[in-house]
Structures are given as C-alpha cells and as structure tokens.
C-alpha cells in the first residue's frame, strides 16, 4: 500500500479518473489564489466589528453606545432597530438574530455593529459599549439543560423490533460516556465584503458553502428581493460545514452597513471572534444498554443520544437525525430503540461539521462494540463482524429506518484490511508488549465505516450548472457548488472536459454566483461532485449534442457518429479541431450555452415515522490503528494506521486520497487533542490555536498506509459511478479512539470501557483511574 498520494501524470491528461492536480494548485503555491480578503478593496471601504454580550443569558436593560460613536475612526454604530427587514440569519427556524434585541442567549452574541475607517478602529471601539444586563439562568452543559428541560425541539425516537428482548438476553452490557465538540478551524476565517450597486442592489463576496442561503437571508434583512442581491465566491480557505449557515451573519452585517451608508463594507472576523461566535460540532452524551448473546451478537439495544445544540435551532434537527441514521454504522440492529434529545443551552449554536452528526452516532455504536468485547473477553473485531449487516434477503439487511442495505461491502473491505494490516499477529504482539512493559501500554483496533449519501431533507438534493462554449472553442464552466479545497471544481472541470474531449486548459472554472445558477443547495453532505458533476454533465451534453448535429450535417452522417476526442471532432470523413466546429456552429446560429440540472433520484423520507430511503447509497471504509500510551502521564502516540476507503470509481484518485487523509487526521483530532473548554459562565476559553490544538504535522501517525478500495464501484447511477468522499473517511479516525480504549483497558484489566472523548492526557488518566477503581494500587502498571 502506498504511503502517499500518487504522482500526477503530465498536466494535459483530461481523463476522468486521472489524478490531476487541483485546478488552483499553482495559484495556491504561488500566493496568487485570491480569497475574499485578498481581492482589491473598493474605494471608501468601511471595516466592521460587533459589540458582543459578556453574559450567556440575560435581559438587556440598557445600551449606551455614546463612547463607541465618539471613538476615533467610527463612522456608524447600528443596533437591531436599524435593520430594515428581518433580524434573522437562521437557515429555517427563524431564531438566529443578526443583532440581539432585548435578550442575549449566548456569551459573545452580537448586540451592536460598528463601522469604522479601519478594522483596528472598529474592533477597539466595539469594546466601549456600555450594556446593562439583568442576568437570567444560563444552562451551559447538557446536564444543566437536561435538569431544566430545555430543548430545541421534541425528543425523537427511532425504533424497530422489540427492545424488551433486552430482558431475556444472556448478557447485558450498559454504559455511558461523553464526546466533545469540535471547532472547524478553517484557516480562512469568516468574511464578507458588501458593495452597494445601483437601484438598491447589493453585491457580496462571501466565504460561504451556501451562497443561495446567504442571498435569501440578506435580501430579507434588507427588505429587498432575492434578485437584488448577488453572492459571489471563488474559493474558501476551508469550510468543513462551518461555512454552511454561519456566513450569513457576517454577510448580513456587511450588507446592512453598505445599505445604510452607501459605502462598501467588509466584515472580517479575527480568529478569536470566529471561534467565539460561530457554531461547532455538537457535543454528545451517550447512554446505552445492550443485550447480547455469548458471541457478542446484539439481540437488543437501547441507546440515548443527548446533544448540546446551543442557543438556537440552526441545523440541529437534521444533525441529530443523522446521528440516529448512523447509530447502526455497519451493524444490524434487530431490536432497537434510539432516543435523541436535542438540548438547548446558552452557548453558541452548534452547526454542521463534516459528518453532520454521523460521527457522533457512529462513535456511540463503536463504543458499544468495544464495551461488549471487553465484557465478554472477546476480540472486538469478532464482535463487530458478528453484527455486520447480512447480504440482501438474509433478513439482516434493513436499517432501523427501514432502508434496505443493498450495497454492503464493509465486510469485504474489513477482510482485505485485516489481512493486509496483519491484524491478528499485531494484536498478539500488543498483548505481549503490555504484559512486559511497566507503564507503556499499546492498543490496536479495526473499525469500519458506513455512511449514507444524500441530504436527508429530500428537496435539497438538486443542483444546477451553466456551461458556455465560445466561438473560439473555450469553455466557461459554472455550477452551484462551492470550492473549499475539496477539489470540486477540478472534478466538475474533468467531467465537463471529458464531454467535449478537451484538455482541462480549455475549461475556465469560474466563481460561484447566485446570478448564474439560482436556488442552489449548500455544498454539503459530501454531495458536491455527485450533484454538480451531473448538472454540469447535463449542461455540457446538451451543447455537445447541438455541436454533433452541426458536425453530422456537414459530414452527412448521423449525429451519433460524431466523436469528440483529443481536442478534435470526427464524423464520417470530416475531422475538425474543436474550435473550428464551434466557429461553424456559431455561424450556423447554434445556441452554445446551456443550463444543466440534476435531482437525486429514488430518495424519500418520512420524518414522522423515521422511515424511508433518505440516502441514494452508502460509502464504506475501514481503518486499523495502533497506539501506545503512557499510563503515568496519559500522553499517547499513534504508531500506525492502515486504511482502505471506498470512493466508487474515483473521479480523481489524488484528490480523493487527499480527502481521505485529511478527513482521517481531522477525525483523530476531534477524538484526541481538540478540546473545547467552556467555563461555568459559558465562556469558551479555547478560542485560538494557542489553546485549541488541531493536529500538526507530527500528529500524523508514524506510519499511514492508505488505499482507495480497488473493488469500488457505485451500484447507483452516480456520475461515472463515483462515490462521495468529503465526510465518510472522517469516521476512520474512530479507530484511534477505539485503540486507545483497548490500551486503557489493557492497562487496568477492567472489563469495561471507561475512556471519553476527546482523549486528552487528562481524560486518559481519568479513564485509567476509573478502570482501576478508586481503591486500586498506585503503581506503574
């Protein structure tokens, strides 16, 4: 297995399936790739900063902004009363204010907005507001919200079969544990630049995964039509879900000032502000009770999944639903009851983050697997395999939400990986090591991944593209998806180039703009290439068919005989350079522009009964990780990870491997060193990289063997039979947490799992202490 991405072929290769470099790679490395803050600033630009709440929950008694207005460089100060339209940036529930009105519901919530001649002037002035509060009870933790009965929506129950089978199960395993949240830590912070246009129009450069939503929310806030607002985005410096709903706040603030002053306005959050006032991955508390037979096969499972949603609804209902959809992972849950509590707390409203609740559901069931194995003294891999979905028709092939699993390949991937990574003999070696070493303990674990692809809100599964072919044969490609580094534009350009038989150099990738493709969905749910790839293909194919007609007419053959290849078009005896055919088509008055569209087929879901087919298909993968930990300090290292991941027939193996590796490392970060710490008053104390530690180069496993699964092919009619890749491999990181669980148990001899996430040195020591029991002897082992 290769330890690194494949080296790319010469740049002129156009084939779909080729490991072509990212379309912006040369711009990235030379510093010429423009992000929103790099674009030449318009004249008279104003810079913005929020004045923010210093309490988590309070009534606002009075607001005195006289010192803010008098501060040097300040041009204007705005409150909720200045918003001409809706004071709202929520994706659907209407409960996210741009600026607080009479109540603040999290510490850091924007209350007023300062516009000044420089960013420093705005930020300094924003500290001068005098706000009088009447403090109200603040729930910071899940426990506090639970005690107060504070929810964002009704608890949801997904059940199947007869969970009372628990009572008669030969073995019962129960436990509870917590997993922390995660900050996106995209390297480019939130930013928006609004420029007023004529007749009340507004142009906004926004670093967003969801231009259409920003457009609609800004229009409502300004009380104008969507057609009056244009959102533009060439690329983001990372998104990971953190720029799905969160950018609207900054865009609305910039647009408000631009509308009020007639001057362009930029809001660029600095790192601390970005981390303090934007949402994160949901923390979860899990409690479970499993009934199993002697082989570890689940007979019944009852599980509670409680999440901290924060102060508003945002996307929390769908995120928590996805946790339920993934609480089976690769395992058939015959008799199951999953109860999902969505707690409202006075902390920043948690939001989408790669995996969208899936990782939390999956970690929960993987923890159950580890705990069963420890209780029964079995190899956790044997327990996992005993619970796998069965083949179609086996009676073990339907999810707890009634979707048949017809494409299950996790068993084959796991078998492949087990053999290649030498799982059994390494597990034996770990046991020998652990007997011999006085205080270092190793752990090894192999965990699988099954992840559903499609937005679970069915109507979001649509995408559009706009393709122009110019008379000189060059192609202008636009689609509704957004580029955040994941290589979407590269893949869509490959697909488009392939339709015309052209090299990538003929395809101009352009900024995503709401005035080119309307009513788009967020680039999210890993669906970017699936949906926009098909939409662009449809648009390009429409034009290709028109060109084929022209060609056929000239050559006197049927249009089907026109072949587009290598920058030329052949039909009958005729062989023309592509640009020549375009020129002829133009002269023949042929429309060389087309919109493409795609709506994902087959999917439907009934939320009332929690049943249906929410996903078009599943992605699969597996990873085996080996760790070593120091039982005195709780420090650990990942020694080796081997992984295999299924991306179907890869559109671009280099980009897909990059996604797999990046997602894996990000997943390990979530479960180990990335710790969000809130104090009792609800203040986030880890709001910058000095205190919030994402993985750095030395946190990558000492050995990392990665492979795209050779047998991969999508059974569903996806574009070129590829599979989505953004989110699924994130959950390969669970293998490291599971290996740590093994190491901790090996150190204590406890017949149960005690580790919580993130597994910081402190939590590892805590897990060791819990495993040993309070009275255990304090010694090396």
């Amino acid at each position: 297995m290769a330890d690194s991405a494949p080296v790319s072929p010469p740049a002129s290769s156009t084939r779909v399936n080729a490991p072509i470099p990212h379309e912006s790679a040369k711009l990235h490395v030379s510093g010429r790739a423009l992000y929103a803050d790099d674009v030449a600033e318009p004249r008279n630009l104003l810079h913005l900063a929020f004045g923010k709440s210093t309490l988590a929950h309070a009534k606002i008694k009075s607001v005195d902004l006289s010192a803010v207005r008098a501060a040097p460089g300040v041009v204007g100060v705005y409150t909720a009363a200045d918003i001409p339209g809706a004071n709202n940036v929520a994706p659907f529930a209407g409960d996210d204010r741009i600026l607080a009105e009479d109540e603040v519901i999290f510490l850091g919530q924007p209350i007023f907005l300062v516009a000044a001649e420089s960013a420093t002037a705005a930020r300094k002035a924003a500290l001068l507001g005098k706000i009088e509060y009447e403090p109200l009870p603040a729930y910071v933790t899940i426990a506090e919200a639970r005690a107060a009965g504070s929810f964002i929506e009704a608890s949801q129950i997904m059940r199947r079969g007869d969970v009372s089978r628990l009572e008669s199960a030969p073995r019962r395993v129960s436990g509870r544990f917590e997993m922390g949240g995660q900050d996106h830590f995209y390297l480019e912070g939130q930013i928006a630049v609004a420029t007023p246009m004529e007749q009340g129009g507004m142009h906004i450069l926004s670093s967003t995964q969801h231009p259409s939503e920003v457009q609609h929310l800004v229009a409502h806030a300004l009380h104008v039509n969507s057609a009056d607002v244009v959102i533009e985005l060439r690329r983001m410096g990372g998104g990971f879900g953190g720029k799905e709903t969160q950018p609207a706040l900054f865009a609305a603030a910039a647009a408000l000032v631009a509308a009020k002053t007639g001057r362009p306005a930029k809001y660029r959050a600095d790192r601390d502000e970005d981390m303090e006032i934007t949402g994160k991955r949901h923390e979860f508390e899990i409690a479970y009770e499993a009934g199993v037979d002697e082989t570890g096969r689940l007979l019944a499972l009852k599980m509670d999944l409680a999440s901290r949603c924060g102060c508003s609804t945002d996307l929390s209902p769908a995120i928590n639903d996805r946790a339920l959809f993934h609480a089976d992972n690769c395992y058939f849950l015959e008799n199951v009851e999953l109860i999902s509590h969505r707690f409202k707390t006075h902390t920043v409203s948690n939001t989408a983050f790669r995996g969208f609740g899936g990782p939390q559901g999956m970690l929960a069931i993987e923890r159950v697997m580890d705990d069963i194995a420890l209780h029964l003294g079995l190899d956790p891999l044997a327990v996992r395999k005993a619970n796998f979905y069965g083949p179609p028709g086996s009676g073990r092939d339907v999810t707890q939400y009634q979707m048949p699993v017809t494409d299950f390949v996790a068993d084959r991937i796991v078998e492949d990986l087990r053999r290649r990574a030498d799982y059994e003999s390494r597990r034996a070696a770990v046991e020998v090591f652990n007997r011999e070493h006085p205080y270092l303990k190793r752990g090894i674990s192999l965990t699988p991944v099954k992840f559903g692809i499609s937005f679970t809100t069915t109507h979001l599964n649509q995408a559009g593209a706009l393709v122009h072919v110019y008379a000189d044969g060059s192609v202008h490609l636009n689609h509704g998806g957004t580029e955040m580094g994941q290589g979407l534009n590269t893949k869509v350009a490959q697909i488009t180039a392939d339709v015309f038989g052209l090299g990538l150099e003929s395809i101009r990738v352009t900024s995503t703009r709401t005035d080119k493709v309307p009513n788009t969905s967020a680039t999210a749910a890993s669906s970017g290439a699936d949906m926009n790839g098909w939409a662009a293909w449809n648009g390009a194919e429409t034009i290709r068919l028109r060109l084929a007609e022209v060609m056929a007419k000239k050559a006197g053959v049927p249009p089907e005989e026109a072949v587009f290849e290598g920058g030329r078009v052949r039909a009958g005896d005729l062989d023309l350079p592509f640009p020549e055919l375009c020129r002829l088509a133009y002269l023949a008055r042929t429309q060389l522009s087309a919109a493409g569209f795609y709506a994902t087929p087959k999917i439907h879901y009934d939320r009332a009964t929690h049943s249906g087919r929410p996903f078009l298909y599943f992605c699969y993968g597996a990873a085996v990780s080996e760790v070593v930990l120091d039982t005195f300090t709780g420090e650990f290292k990942t020694l080796r990870t081997d992984l295999i991941h299924d991306v179907g027939r890869s559109l671009n193996p280099a980009i897909d491997l990059g996604q797999v590796e990046g997602a894996f490392v990000q997943g390990v970060g979530w479960l180990t060193i990335e710790e969000l710490v809130y104090d009792a008053k609800g203040r986030l104390t880890t709001h910058a990289p000095s205190t919030y530690k994402i993985p750095c180069a030395s946190d990558r496993p000492e050995i990392l063997n990665m492979e795209l699964w050779r047998g991969g092919e999508n059974r569903e009619p996806t574009i070129h039979r590829s599979k989505a890749v953004g989110e699924p491999p994130f959950m390969l990181g669970i293998s490291v947490f599971s290996a740590l669980t093994h190491a901790v148990a090996s150190a204590t001899g406890a017949a149960c799992a005690t580790l919580e996430a993130p597994a910081t040195p402190e939590r590892i020591l805590k897990a060791l202490a819990a495993g040993r029991g309070e009275a255990g002897p304090r010694e090396g082992a």
Partner: protein, 483 residues
C-alpha cells in the same frame, strides 16, 4: 540618531518612516506593500499562514529564518532582508513539488507552508538537522493531513550558492548609531516610540533614559498584546539583535539575553538532552527563530517555557543597570504572579546554566495536549545530586503549578538525604500537594496537574535505569519500540 528603518525586499532597499512602530509585518505586507500571498490565520504566531523568511548576516553569509509576520513588528526588520511567497515566483522547486504531490487543498495555509519548505531548501535556521515534521510543526493545515506536504519536505533540499551581493547590501545596512522611531497616532494624539540601541552599552544608557519602556526581543509574546488585546505600547526598547553571545565552557553555558531559542537549541542540548528536547518543543520553528531565551525569562510568564528546567539546573541571571551588574539565582527572580525582582533601569543581560555533574540525575519533562507547539499544562525540571546511592541534594521545579515557575520544597525535602528508591519518589510525589495548589484552566484541571506532576516523579523510577550517570534523553514512547 536615525529615524527610518531600512531593509531589503527581494534585493531592493525599502526605507520607511512615519508609521506606527507596532504595525506588524503582516499588516504592512497586506496593506501598503500589496503582497496578498501572506495570510492571516490567527494573528498570534500559532498557525504559520503568515510565514515569511527574514535574512541576516551570519559570518560571511546570510542566514534565513522563517518567522511569523503576524506578530513581527515592522521595525524589527531594520537591517535585514525579507522574502515573501511572491519572491519565489511560481516555479521554485518546492512550489513544483507541492503541486505535483497534491500538497494543497484549500490553499490558505499553502503560502506559509511553501515558505517554510523554501526556507528548508535554502538552509534556513533550524531546518537542516531537523525532522521535516519539526520544520512544519508551526504550519497548521486543516485539509491535507500533512502527508503530501511532508513528502514534499523530504525531497532533497539544496543549499543555494552564497549571495555576495546580498551580503554586501546587508553590510551597508549595519547601524553604528541608535535608531529611534517616533510616531503620533493621528486619531488619538498618543505618541509612540521605538528605540533600537546599536550596542549593549547604548542599551544600558537607553534603559536608564526610558525605564518604563517595554523591552522587546522577538515579540512572540508582546506581539499578542497588540494583535489580541489591542494594547497601546507607548515606548518599546528593541533588543532583538543585541546580546547574542553564546559562551560554552566546561563550567556551563552562558546565553546573552537576546539569543534565540533556535540558536540556543544545540548548546542547550549539550547541557542535557532533555533540555534540548524542551527547547525543541517550545513554540515551533517560527517562534524559536524569533523568541529569545533570556527575554522570555525576563518576561516572567507563570508557565515559563525554560524556567522550570533552568531553576532545577541552578541557573543564574545577570542583571545590568548602567554599568553595574548583579547576579541573581533564577529562582529568586520570580517574586509572584506578574512580579519579578528587577529594578528601574535594569535589564536581563545574560543567563548562565551550570553544566550538570556526570553523576547527577537530570529529568526535564513537559506535558501538553499536543506534543509540538503547545504550552505546557505541567513542566518539570529535576536535578538530583548523588552521593553514592543517596540523594545529596534535590532541585525540583515546576511550571504550570503556581503563579510563577517554582521549586517544590516539600518534595525536595522528601528526597534529600534519602536513598533514591520507589518509596522516596512516592513520598516526594505525595509531598507535592504541600508545595502546590495549582489552578484549573483550559490546559488542565488542578487535580490533573497535581496527579501528573506526581506521576512524573513516580515514572522517574523506571526511567533512571542507566543509574550512575546523566540519563540519556528518553524521547516519549522510546520504550514502545524497544520493549
């Protein structure tokens, strides 16, 4: 006296005056200079998206250093050469490698990474002997997982030919007199001054003239006061290019207060491998290239990067006021949180670290959430001076356990005069509860700090295996590979 800074940008001299002396290099690049390739990711020197290369005369050549432009005050560039990502064009070998190996995804961290890699290819400070992961520890990437970037770093770096023209240009920029920059904020009318003495004697005079001025060496801490806390620093005394002498003798190591971590690393490693490892884990390459050991001590941080170790090693500070000098044991310098034993007009001139005796046991350990570029939750320095099997004297100091780096008197007493045994170490571990009542913060709870600190002593029993001599450095998890 001079009132303008001069530096070389791509070989062309820039002469700047009349600007806010606490303007950062990043703000200048992205503002007046219009070089947008250098990015702001955190404005606190932790992510490396703003990495640029600064060149200085070193012997007969130019030594380049990667630094974080976001916390690098513009006047610090005076007399130096600067390269940004734009300086490389687009066809530099590391740029080609990064494209070919798919080393960028979103691309936002990429210019900083390219500069770290270009620095390595140019033989920049702290890169030649270092593991590629070490060279890149200060460049966070959220997309790639680092594999392709490390692959690019492993491709053979070549030190380019000397650049005599640049050497000549830099020699021209050497200062023989003090630099003073004065600026008044037009918005507030507040005056600010930047003073850069031209030698130590001049610094001693300047310190007497401006006893209230904030002394700045690498600005790896003070930079954040400006970028994060929006503090106004009316007067800055910049010592970054002074007191750079390193004296290694059989008795010990003397470091001038301006010696940067990167320069101090090798000699400190020769004092003890653990001390070298501690320095390797302070900040990352960019921070070690800017921050100075003595200046960090003088600053009096409660965590203290090196002080716990240096207190254990019985280091001595030399403080200077005018032409008068006094020596002070390092441990006496830290009075209480935010307060040090330093008098008006005085400054730290050097720190002396005595070389341990061959039979001493030394152990220096730093505990963090992330191994590289993280601030310690607990940092321990331990020196046991032995008489046969007995501990003749114990020096045990901790950072992160109190308002200052502090010795553990009760734990030391539990060891002193006793045979070194699992029992005496256990007694010392338990005695820590009398020495410390640590705080709970985002780096660790009070209980964890106390338990982990005690465990470091308990673990020491297993680590002391090579009894009779100075312990070899034990990289974490060494035993994991050798059983």
């Amino acid at each position: 006296m001079s009132d303008a800074i001069r530096f070389l940008l791509d070989g062309r001299m820039e002469r700047l005056s009349g600007f806010d002396p606490t303007l950062t290099l990043l703000e200048w690049l992205r503002g007046p200079a219009g070089r947008m390739g250098t990015k702001e990711g955190c404005a606190e020197g932790d992510c490396g998206a703003c990495t640029v290369l600064v060149g200085e005369l070193e012997g007969e050549g130019v030594l380049w250093r990667a630094v974080n432009a976001c916390i690098y005050f513009l006047p610090m560039l005076d007399g130096k050469a600067l390269m940004t990502v734009e300086s490389l064009g687009g066809e530099h070998p590391v740029q080609r490698d990064m494209v070919e190996l798919h080393g960028s995804q979103c691309g936002f961290c990429t210019p900083g990474i390219v500069m770290s890699l270009a620095g390595r290819a140019m033989g920049a400070a702290g890169t030649q002997e270092a593991d590629p992961r070490d060279v890149l520890a200060g460049n966070l990437c959220r997309c790639t997982g680092y594999g392709p970037i490390l692959e690019a770093a492993r491709r053979n770096p070549q030190k380019p030919a000397a650049d005599p023209e640049l050497v000549a240009q830099l020699r021209e920029l050497r200062r023989k007199e003090r630099l003073t920059l004065a600026w008044t904020d037009p918005a507030t009318g507040v005056a600010r001054r930047w003073i850069k003495p031209h030698d130590v004697a001049d610094l001693a005079r300047a310190r007497l003239e401006s006893p209230e001025a904030r002394i700045v060496a690498g600005a790896t801490d003070v930079g954040l006061w400006v970028t994060k806390r929006h503090r106004v620093l009316p007067e800055i005394l910049h010592i970054g290019d002074l007191m750079r002498e390193i004296e290694e003798t059989p008795e010990g190591l003397k470091l001038g207060a301006g010696v940067r971590y990167a320069e101090a690393h090798a000699p400190m490693k020769r004092i003890h491998a653990d001390l070298g490892e501690l320095v390797r884990r302070i900040g990352a390459t960019q921070v070690r290239n800017s921050g100075a050991v003595g200046a960090n001590i003088a600053n009096g941080s409660p965590i203290g990067d090196t002080p716990p170790a240096l207190i254990a090693l019985d280091a001595v500070l030399t403080l200077r006021r005018g032409d008068e000098r006094r020596s002070l044991p390092l441990e006496s310098y830290f009075l209480e949180y935010g307060k040090q034993d330093i008098r008006s007009g005085e400054f730290v001139e050097s720190v002396f670290i005595p070389r341990p005796a061959p039979e001493d046991f030394i152990r220096i350990v730093k505990l963090t959430k992330r191994f590289d570029s993280d601030i310690s939750a607990v940092c321990m320095g331990l020196r046991l001076r032995m008489e046969g099997e007995r501990v003749a004297s114990a020096r045990l100091a901790f950072g992160g356990m109190a308002g200052t780096p502090k010795r553990a008197a009760a734990a030391e007493a539990a060891l002193t005069g006793k045979p070194l045994s699992q029992d005496s170490l256990e007694a010392a571990a338990q005695a820590l509860a009398q020495d410390f009542a640590p705080l709970t913060d985002m780096r660790g709870s009070s209980a964890y700090r106390l338990e982990a600190a005690g465990n470091l002593l308990r673990r020491f029993w297993f680590e002391r295996a090579g009894a009779g001599g100075v312990l070899p450095q034990k990289p974490l998890m060494e035993g994991a590979f050798h059983g």
